[in-house]
Amino acid sequence: MAMKPEDVLRAIAAARGDAICVPTMTTSPAWRTIAPDDLSIGCVGFMGGASSLGLGLALAMPKRRVIVFDGDGSLLMQLGSLATIAGAAPRNLTHLIFKNGVYHTSGAQEIPGGLNVDFVQMAKGAGYRKAYAVTEFDDFKRRLPAILGDEGPVLVELHTGLADKTPMTDRSGVPFHQQVESLRQKVQTAG
């Protein structure tokens, strides 16, 4: 049975410490509820950009862990970012793919290739330091310390079901420019 994305996010919230999180698309509404007003920035307005946004954050702040909550459809929009990330080789980047096989926000149309698309093989081929899939929540909880602590870039393909909410059913998000300014102030204050 596929993992519930909300369960995965709650487990990450409890374990992440001061890591910066970059949710996108269907993880965004749940993350806002689970981890409100914290060190996070949603990729809003440029679909597919979460992994590259996370790369920039990781390069700018090498002592802080950055966790990207990517979608399978989102990553397909900028698939070359796998090679860009591997080339830059940020040791502090964890790239999570919430794989549900569909574009949930627009009505759950299947992504190209559906669930057959293998992001683990793609990440390995691009040159990520580690890449593997997790299909069971108990296994995810057991591996979580390594997922958040291993030297990156690490990609983990999470086999998840659909989130309860999407950015279309929950429009309570803060505009991107406000998130940019808020996170910039927080990280620069923290030093």
């Binding site: 590259s52 790369l55 920039g56 954050l57 700018a60």
Partner: protein, 178 residues
Amino acid sequence: MPESIPAPLIIDTLKDTFREARGASAREPLGWILSVPDTHQKTVLAALDKERALRVVTCATEDEANAVGAGLWIGGEPCVLMIQHAGLYASVNTLRGVAMDGRVPMFYMIGLLQREKDRDPKESRHSMVRFAEPLLDTFGVPHARLEGPDDVHRIPEYYRLSRERRGPAAVLVGLETS
């Protein structure tokens, strides 16, 4: 008549621009070059390979370069995007989403590949040269041409402008760098 700009002059200008941006906290790397390799600026890219004070991240697409630049900005790191006009066309949605709507200062050096030496870019035979400035105008992106060594002062000027207006600003590299 436009002239080619030597790569060392551009690199020294970028270093000075980054030093100014960092102020008293200047350290290495001074700044980041986010590049989707541009044939027009290839001598600069080749020289950057030997530079230790500037760090180059080669991106697969200009969309990525914009998003990486946003992350660097949030973390307080200065950067320049070195792309080609074709890459500008390919990435306008991300430019809009990140630099404009996201109010992220983003400074672009855009190579005008195939720009004819004896023509104004707006009268070029090549659509990719001809449409670059009108596209930037449409999006309200301030821009200037680098038509020769005397114009390199536009680099820090438009870099600062991107910071002041919290948005995009660009210089267009008129002739292939030397």
